[in-house]
């Protein structure tokens, strides 16, 4: 029955439309395979579609990415220095103003910031009660002979300061990311006083994350396509170990290739880049404002 070159199709493989497995059923719910596929998909989405405010012709977008990053960092440091709720609210309104002037949708900004905010809120919620922060009672929850539970004014204030600070800082960083494309983030970093080699390694890392994540994604798809029955924990782990090994082997192979390609192009370990620092009027103005805010908050 063989074909010309001896491809010998066995009898069982000739049967079509039979041979299914009634006991085969994958339990419902999300296993780690599905979770990982989702995580990878949402990551790829983030990279492909950074909410698209980088191309808008707004305030931040017009500022040189280097000055933009430095300014945002100064604002962030200012936010850590501030000590009372009112001053942080003022800074926050400035952030909102910058966002609006940069044509960033406030709802999008808020959506990005929300997870960090909610996490922080849950984390510090207990501090409003008197057993953590005693003080003047604002809301009495229970008052008994020996047990007194209330929400204290001091606790509320403390929570407000902490939450507002986190909100301001996360918003600032998010605002920078929303208005700056990935290539510009790396361009901005190059003019910072960090070793160039580190910046090159960073952009290389970013590029190869995408390559490796594709391997990870396909591996999960392949596993899913072949899973017809729930597998044991040990099987899952062995599989995952083999995948992580695959990703690692690929990274090592690729590192070797990249090194050879770099050497072939004349790279000897010393980085030479071309960065001409040329600031425009608006860049000076932006830097001026951010330094001003920074100095002001350092005194308050």
């Amino acid at each position: 029955m063989g074909l010309s070159n001896g491809v010998n199709i066995p009898e069982w493989l000739k049967k079509t439309g039979e041979d299914f497995c009634p006991s085969c059923a994958i339990g419902g719910g999300k296993g780690f395979i599905e979770k990982n596929i989702e995580a990878i998909a949402s990551f790829i989405k983030d990279v492909l579609e950074p909410d698209g405010f980088a191309d808008k012709n707004g305030l931040l977008q017009q500022i040189d990415p280097r000055a933009r990053l430095l300014g945002v960092l100064l604002f962030m440091v200012a936010a850590t220095l501030l000590k009372n709720a009112l001053s942080i609210v003022l800074l926050l309104s400035l952030v909102v103003f910058i966002a609006l002037a940069s044509r960033v949708n406030i709802m999008v900004l808020l959506k990005r910031v929300l997870p960090a905010l909610i996490f922080t809120l849950i984390l510090i919620l207990p501090t409003v009660f008197n057993f953590v922060t005693p003080g003047t009672s604002v809301v009495t929850i229970y008052k008994g002979e020996t047990f007194y539970l209330y929400i204290s004014k001091q606790g509320l204030e403390g929570m407000a300061v902490f939450l507002l600070r986190v909100l301001a800082m996360v918003s600032l960083l998010t605002l920078f990311l929303l208005t700056t494309g990935y290539p510009n983030v790396f361009r901005a970093l190059q003019s910072f006083p960090i070793p160039k080699i580190f910046v090159i390694a960073l952009s290389m890392t970013f590029r190869y994350v995408m390559v490796l994540i594709k391997i990870a994604e396909d591996s999960h798809f392949a596993k899913k396509a072949r899973t017809i029955k729930p597998v044991t924990l040990k099987q899952s782990r062995d599989w995952l170990a083999s995948r992580i090994w695959l990703i690692m082997e690929r990274s090592m192979e690729r590192a070797e290739d990249v090194y050879l390609a770099m050497t072939a192009r004349g790279f000897d370990g010393d980085v030479k880049t071309m960065t001409v620092f040329e600031m425009k009027g608006i860049d000076y103005a932006w830097m001026g404002v951010s330094i001003f805010i920074f100095l002001l908050s350092a005194q308050l």
């Binding site: 296993g31 780690f32 990982n36 995580a39 962030m76 440091v77 936010a79 220095l81 000590k83 996490f119 501090t127 953590v132 001091q154 403390g158 902490f162 600070r165 986190v166 800082m169 960083l173 990311l177 990935y182 983030v185 070793p195 080699i197 090159i200 390694a201 960073l202 290389m204 890392t205 590029r207 190869y208 994350v209 390559v211 490796l212 994540i213 990870a216 924990l233 782990r237 062995d238 170990a241 992580i244 090994w245 690692m248 082997e249 990274s251 090592m252 590192a255 070797e256 990249v258 050497t263 000897d268 370990g269 001409v276 620092f277 000076y284 001026g288 404002v289 330094i291 100095l295 005194q299």
Partner: protein, 325 residues
């Protein structure tokens, strides 16, 4: 596990950035010596690898899943020094490009996850698998290494968070940054990591590295002649800094007086104090003569800040002109 922006006081952030600086420098030197020019792609790919495995869920008994950090896995492949750099790169990408983790707290996060973790894990593994270890002993050694490394990183994180109320508070003692004291942060971080995250890291480390050992040992990092020597130095430092040492000193658990902590980390605020002094000499007392009432002095603050920023911008502008020529 990543400390977000706003949780740590500027002092703490500064101290930990400062602490990482020599570590990064030393790591770069060591790596250059060992890996030569191959280092950049290798470190970058190592970082990319770390980044990807940090995204993956690992199944654990009971049907639940969790993420691993992978610090010990990376250390066993690239060696602990290169792991410092690769992990730092991965954390930086997470923070700077994806807003995951903080920028101001990056020094702290690198200290915990890119320094404490790979080193404790790597050396724990070396000690436990010393000699001619069987496959089973290696597996156990890796498991324990992952477990200890994760818990040590959690401990340093808990300490960084827990000292905030002592070192940064309002005059009436209310905390300005992370509000919980060590008596809360250490047990909380401890519980979650001793019972859950530690196991994920342990299982993850053991399964991945033992798989590598089985398939292709050659890819693993081979230490220089006497890999355990730096361990003793490291252990010495740890003994000095470890809370157990402080406990032995007589303070009750988590109830350290703030003076003690201030003496512990006091040298840096002093440095900042000196910097502050430098600034005051330029702008005496942040204030201008003739502004004495509160409202006037607020106004004075604004004016002095405006003058200060104007001066700095002028310097930048002139420097830019000169560099450009």
């Amino acid at each position: 596990m990543h400390i977000p922006d706003g949780y740590l006081s500027p002092k703490t952030c500064g101290v930990l950035y400062a602490a990482m600086a020599p570590i990064w420098y030393l790591a770069a030197r060591k790596v250059q010596k060992i890996l030569q020019a191959k280092q950049i792609p290798l470190l970058a790919l190592g970082a990319a690898f770390t980044f990807v495995i940090m995204m993956l869920n690992i199944p654990i008994p009971g049907g639940s899943t969790g993420h691993m950090v992978g610090g010990v896995v990376v250390a066993s492949v690239l060696g602990p020094w290169a792991a410092v750099i690769s992990l730092s790169l991965a954390l930086t990408i997470q923070a700077l490009l994806f807003g995951d983790g903080g920028i101001t707290t990056l020094g702290a996060n690198c200290f915990n996850l890119a320094f404490i973790m790979p080193f404790t894990g790597y050396y724990t593994y070396l000690v436990l698998s010393a000699g001619d270890a069987s496959q089973k002993r290696r597996w156990i050694a890796l498991f324990v290494a992952g477990y200890i490394a994760m818990n040590m990183a959690a401990l340093t994180t808990a300490i960084q968070l827990g000292i905030q109320p002592y070192i940064a508070h309002l005059p009436d003692g209310r905390p300005l940054y992370f509000p919980y004291q060590l008596s809360v942060t250490i047990p909380a971080m401890g519980m979650s990591h001793i019972l859950f995250f530690g196991f994920i890291e342990a299982i993850g480390t053991a399964m991945v590295v033992s798989y590598i050992l089985k398939i292709n040992k050659a890819i693993l990092y081979k230490p220089e002649t006497n890999p355990l020597r730096p361990l003793w130095i490291g252990l010495g430092i740890l003994i000095i800094f470890t809370p157990v040492g402080l406990l032995a000193h007589g303070s009750p658990w988590g109830e350290w007086a703030s003076e003690e902590l201030i003496t512990l980390i006091g040298y840096v605020p002093e440095g900042i104090q000196r910097l502050k002094g430098l600034w005051t000499s330029i702008m005496p007392d942040y204030n201008l003569p003739g502004f004495d009432t509160p409202r006037q002095s607020a106004f004075g603050y604004i004016i002095s800040a405006a003058i200060g920023s104007g001066l700095i911008i002028l310097i930048i502008y002139l420097a830019g002109k000169m560099w450009k020529r």
